[in-house]
């Protein structure tokens, strides 16, 4: 029986907005095996990012549980959640979120600063990871001097900096053309295969499915094992 890196049970998140309640997650049960590459496909507003943030200890659910590497996140204090984010999780965002006044190298190095690692070691680590993502010669450039694909490579290097157990990808190819997006997905797949990182990607880009071990679909805060087109066809057949 495989170990699970993440398990959610009856996970719900309700946002209380002015006009009423918005149910972003509606009883989500999902397990992500250790070393697995899971992709969740779904349209914008389906709850993908909310689920990702719950799994990455960035937000707390309204009800239900998230167990990350054996720890029930709902029972952890704020300080412990900070430690989880620092040590267990690496995020890759659609909008990169690179610090604009920091070079590529400094952006990666900054991720390691809270760990207390010696600066020389941080620089070496950042250099190694930027070399790994093919930015060995552009590590002193500012984000504004890098293309979208290069910026996303920096975020991958940054996400790997702390040697996390799991990579959480929020629309990792959202702002990229298909060719660059595929290069990025190759890189993530490589981290999954060669470094044994568990990967959870949420996206609405269909081509991402080809890189994952398993695919789930999300709609209106619920997870499905089959896509909506398949469900529609089945429904029509009946």
């Amino acid at each position: 029986m495989p170990g699970y890196m993440i398990e959610t049970s009856n996970l719900s998140k309700i946002y209380h907005k002015g006009g009423g309640d918005i149910r972003a997650l509606d009883g989500v049960d999902v397990e992500v095996a250790d070393g697995e590459f899971l992709t969740i496909l779904g349209p914008s507003g389906s709850g993908k990012t909310t689920l990702l943030y719950m799994m990455g200890a960035l937000d707390r659910p309204t009800s239900g549980t998230v167990i990350l590497d054996g720890s029930d996140l709902s029972k952890l204090s704020e300080t412990e959640l900070v430690r989880v984010r620092r040590q267990k999780v690496g995020f890759v965002f659609q909008q990169y979120n690179l610090l604009p006044t920091f070079s590529a190298m400094e952006n990666v190095e900054a991720t390691l600063a809270p760990t207390g690692m010696d600066r020389q070691k941080r620089v070496e680590r950042a250099r190694e990871l930027l070399g790994l993502v093919g930015l060995g010669k552009r590590m002193d450039h500012l984000p504004s001097e890098l293309s979208g694909g290069e910026q996303q490579r920096v975020t991958i290097a940054r996400a790997l900096a702390n040697d996390p157990e799991i990579l959480l990808l929020d629309e990792p190819t959202g702002d990229l053309d298909t060719t660059t997006g595929k290069e990025i997905m190759e890189m993530i797949r490589q981290a999954n295969k060669e470094r044994g990182k568990t990967v959870l990607a949420v996206t609405n880009a269909e081509y991402v499915r080809g890189y994952s071990d398993r695919l789930l679909y999300m709609r209106d805060g619920r997870l499905y094992e089959r896509g909506f087109s398949e469900l529609s066809k089945e429904s029509e057949a009946r």
Binding site: T49, T50, Y53, G56, L58, D59, E78, T79, V82, R83, R85, R86, Q87, F91, F93, Q95, N97, L99, A110, T111, P114, R158, N162
Partner: protein, 247 residues
């Protein structure tokens, strides 16, 4: 002799002619003089004038023979100043005798008032600077919401974020204070040069009080820190998930 600035203004040199016109008599009396020298008197001097002539010539030109309107006396023994002042008043009851002590008292009063006013203005400006700093930091925090969300996503704690914003605020206050002191010094220099002082004398005239400098910098730093507290607290409380969703 003519004052240097006056000479410069009217292009006068030694040998130039100037005419004094006395219009206080029934008819205007003109007296011509030839410039024999250019004289430079400190900008703050009590006896600064534009044209300097011998007393008999001045008395004749003003049609006031044997009269003076001001006499400057130097008392060799400061202890006898009051006695000399009293004797002069007795000798010339209609005259006004002003001693150096009287001038010093007035000057001290003016300086004290000026200092008090300057302090009040400085405190008011510090309060305004504090409010501007607070607004500026709040705007910066709003603009950097995603960045703060990202910092939290990579494992920065609330206290890390708060510390970062406070440090930035403190440094802004310190830099603002240093720039303010430099601008203040330059402003004082400019004022002295504008009223006719020489650069080397103006530099000697402006004294930098280390205590005052320290107080000014301390106020700037404290203002920076105060302006940063609320924005830092707000940043620390931000939910990272919500911060990352901000466009």
């Amino acid at each position: 002799m003519v004052d240097r600035d006056y000479a410069l203004k009217y292009n006068l040199t030694v040998g130039s002619k100037v005419t004094y016109m006395n219009m206080q008599t029934a008819y205007t009396v003109k007296t011509n003089y030839t410039v024999v020298g250019i004289v430079e008197v400190g900008a703050m001097s009590l006896i600064r004038s534009t044209i300097y002539v011998n007393l008999p010539d001045a008395q004749e030109a003003t049609k006031a023979p044997g009269q003076v309107n001001i006499a400057l006396l130097r008392v060799n023994d400061p202890d006898k100043l009051q006695a000399v002042s009293g004797n002069l008043t007795r000798l010339w009851p209609t005259s006004t005798v002003i001693t150096a002590l009287d001038i010093a008292a007035v000057t001290t009063g003016v300086i004290t008032m000026s200092e008090q006013t300057a302090w009040n203005i400085s405190l008011a400006l510090a309060a305004v600077a504090l409010l501007i700093g607070l607004k500026s930091q709040l705007s910066a925090v709003v603009e950097r919401t995603r960045e703060i969300g990202y910092l939290k996503a990579i494992g920065r704690s609330n206290s890390d974020v708060m510390g970062q914003i406070m440090t930035e605020s403190l440094l802004q206050g310190l830099i603002g204070g240093l720039v303010g002191c430099a601008v203040g010094y330059a402003g004082a220099l400019y004022v002295l040069l504008t009223i006719g002082g020489e650069l080397d004398r103006a530099l000697q005239f402006i004294t930098v009080d280390p205590l005052l400098l320290g107080i000014a910098l301390a106020i700037a730093v404290v203002s920076g820190v105060l302006a940063g507290i609320y924005p830092a607290w707000r940043s620390a409380r931000m939910n990272p998930a919500e911060a990352l969703r901000v466009l």
